[in-house]
Amino acid sequence: MTGNPETGRGYLAERGWRSWAYTLDHKRIGVMYLLTTIAFFLVGGVFALLLRLELLSPQAKYFSDHTYNVFFTLHGAMMIFLFIIPAIPSGLGNFFIPMHIGARDVAFPRLNLASYWVFVAGFLVVLASLVSPMDTGWTFYTPYSAKTGAAVATLSFGIFLIGMSSILTGLNFIVTIHKLRAPGMSWHRLPLFIWGMYSTSIIQVVATPVVGVTFLLLALERLVGVAFFDPAKGGDPVLFQHFFWFYSHPVVYVMILPAMGIVSEVIPVFSRKPIFGYAAIAYSSLAIAFIGFLVWGHHMFTSAMSPLANAIFSFLTFFVAVPTAVKVFNWIATLYKGSITFESPMLYALTFIFLFIIGGLTGPFLAALSTNVQLHDTYFVVAHFHYTMMGGTVMGFFAGLHYWFPKMTGKMLNEKVARIAWALVFIGFNVTFFTMFIVGTRGMPRRYAEYVPKFHAENVVSTVGSAILALGILVMMWNFVQGLRKGARAPGNPWYALSLEWQSASPPETENFHEVPTVTAWPYGYGTPKGPPA
């Protein structure tokens, strides 16, 4: 129960770049994904800070409008395609799915490595597009994206490759979860992180090809003039939006579902209580994944869709709220009568719930037709999106990083520094983004390099918040580096968790487990049926 006492270098023993570049070990591939995506998170964050800097003044001050447009495009495209989509699934998922289900590796290790290198190829192509950087916003709406002078075809191709990598990873995980579970690991004994990852993988496999084709068509429109989205040839620019959002709406669940899985792992461990309503949390992941495919039209309520389409998409959108609410209620109920400690993973998990509730409760404003028409394309949407994605997914990601850091590296983090970083992130985040709800309701449109002076005060507050947030993230990164360099040796199971990954050494051996474990119980058997033990 207290884990393996071994304290070797485990899977990290082999050295040299070849041992990484050619590795078939899912853990090493996961680590490579994590390092790459965190790097992009930091770069994307720098772009965000530059945006906030420019918005300090209503008039263009530091950059031209075009430069600002490039910055918000790069911020969006990098954060979405290079960080948040791959970070948890491909990074933490690669590392922990096989360990959670008691397997030695994923189903197709070679494909796994290939998917990482396709990802790298993708981001190299994205970098190549910087010769004439994109200025369309991460949504690539036609006909602007078909006309602008930027390297749209190049960037589309880069994102096509990244999408391919995402498909291959999802495929690998689906098959892994179906076929490689340890003996006794029935579906209802799966950790909830696996349920989240399974639902995510389905979305990746089914939705990503659509956006792949869409970007292909966009590139072809620029290269050979196909007529799909070109109004001059009878094409329909709104069809582009349908295709784009058929992927890009479900993909926010690719981002959030694994984070919800992490939270479902962390909460019981630090409350010493079984998760409340396991089945409801597990199946609500699948429900969110499925309903997520029915609601893409809510991004297009002002795009002059048919009235019936507007009504249907609005109606269905509200039903995403139900499984999401169920999860939140279950997490809160798990805390009830727990024995809660507040180590950094738990702090981030609770922050996830806190911020995600705000993100979730501002959803109905955007789902209801009449208020959507008012708030669409204003800062209200920006705030809602960041509360769910940054306040949700990224906080879940941070929770996962702090939770599994000892397992991945064999070192413990400095808890005091981690808490300081957490406090800065929490305060900075809310100051930055809550003001955006207000300025959005007052009518400030998004993607504005310059704005009318009446929105000035909110923007200054928001920029100050972003500086605090950035400082918090810097402290966190510094803590990671210090932890790697000088952290205390981590025991096999520092949090006394019950799921399988903690039954290995820290860091785990290449084979994960000396013997493939036989599973006899679910991973949440905390607490006692009759109260305190003798």
Binding site: N69, G137, Y141, Y144, K147, T148, P231, G234, P237, S271, P274, G277, Y278, A279, A280, T302, A304, P307, N310, A311, S314, F318, V322, V326, V328, F329, N330, I332, A333, L335, Y336, K337, G338, S339, I340, L350, F354, I357, L361, F365, A367, A368, L369, S370, V373, Q374, H376, D377, T441, R442, G443, R447, Y448, E450, Y526, G527, T528, G531, P532, P533
Partner: protein, 315 residues
């Protein structure tokens, strides 16, 4: 607080949107207090007080009745919110009779305004206060947006299509219009103003010389332009104002319901007329052949708008 939530709606419709906003805010506020309250209360109350005692928690794994209710109650709440949101929206989409039409065409990065009497303007739309005004929106190059925050409405402007939006300013005033769909370098400077004048001032402005009168060398009224184009472009070779020729007649067409060859019916609105001119094969009227050539390249947006306006007048 009113200012922060941008109350001070400029029209009755905007006030109705605000009630939906408020309703969601109250419901959301209730669930916010409930969930965050419990979250914080549990976190504080059940924090571990004695570090040495570990597994002292009860093994609660679920409660079907509780879970049933917290699936049921949100479901009912969201259906209610949907219903009110949709109701107000549906009402907002139907313009009242007697609205003044104003044609607005967007291009990078300005709004080209054309009144039915032929006067034009850039980025300034004068309308009488207290009367409904209907915007007929088009775009020349890329997607643009038409957002009136004080009226809580917006509509995308889509190249190759015609979209509409209406407002009724209750009070005179100057209301900003923002572009909300990213359209390039000048996006954030693509703003305009809706200037609602008291009826008397509006009449004065309408008659005023600064924009040139409707007669003489002044610009041509849209409907007059349409009548001229209709003769010169050869429309009347195949269509008659009244009575069936090779193509369907124009009189009474606007606002009617047209039966198509596959039996479905469509409303003959601006978008239908525009489409029938630029893409005649798209909707074939029952009883007619698909033989009209497209006028997409031969007629400008102005010409098409003129034709539409002329046909609208043939009641």
């Amino acid at each position: 607080m009113g200012e922060i939530l941008s109350f001070g709606a400029a029209s009755g419709q905007a006030a109705r949107v605000d009630t939906v906003f408020l309703m969601i805010l109250v419901i959301g506020g209730f669930f916010f207090v409930l969930t965050q309250g419990l979250l914080i209360y549990f976190a504080v109350k059940y924090r571990r007080r004695r570090p040495d005692r570990d597994n002292e928690t009860p093994q609660i794994t679920g409660d079907y009745l509780l879970e049933f209710f917290w699936i049921l109650i949100p479901s009912i709440v969201v259906v209610a919110i949907f219903y009110y949101g949709w109701l107000v929206y549906a009402d907002l989409r139907i313009p009242p009779a007697g609205a003044t039409d104003v044609y607005v065409n967007a291009r990078q990065w300005m709004y080209e305004v054309r009144y039915t009497d032929g006067r034009t303007a850039i980025n300034e739309i004068h309308v009488p206060a207290g009367k409904p005004v209907r915007f007929i929106l088009s775009a020349s190059d890329v997607l643009h947006g038409f957002y009136l925050p004080d009226f809580r409405v917006k509509m995308d402007m889509i190249p190759g299509r015609t979209t509409t939006l209406w407002v009724q300013p209750d009070r005179p005033g100057r209301y900003p219009i923002y572009c909300t769909v990213f359209c390039g370098a000048g996006h954030s400077n693509m703003t305009a103003n809706l200037i609602a004048l008291p009826p008397a001032e509006f009449a004065q402005w309408e008659a005023g010389g600064e924009r040139g009168g409707p007669e003489g060398k002044g610009p041509e009224a849209l409907a007059a332009r349409g009548e001229r184009i209709m003769k010169s472009a050869g429309c009347l070779n195949c269509h008659a104002v009244e009575g069936k020729k090779i193509g369907p007649p124009f009189k009474g067409l606007f606002g009617s319901r047209v039966t198509l060859e596959d039996g479905t019916t469509v409303a003959a609105d601006e978008e239908y007329l525009r489409e029938s001119i630029t893409d005649p094969g798209a909707k074939i009227v029952k009883g007619y052949q698909n033989m009209m050539p497209t006028f997409k390249t031969t007629l400008s947006t102005e010409d098409v708008n003129g034709l539409v306006e002329y046909i609208k007048g043939l009641k």
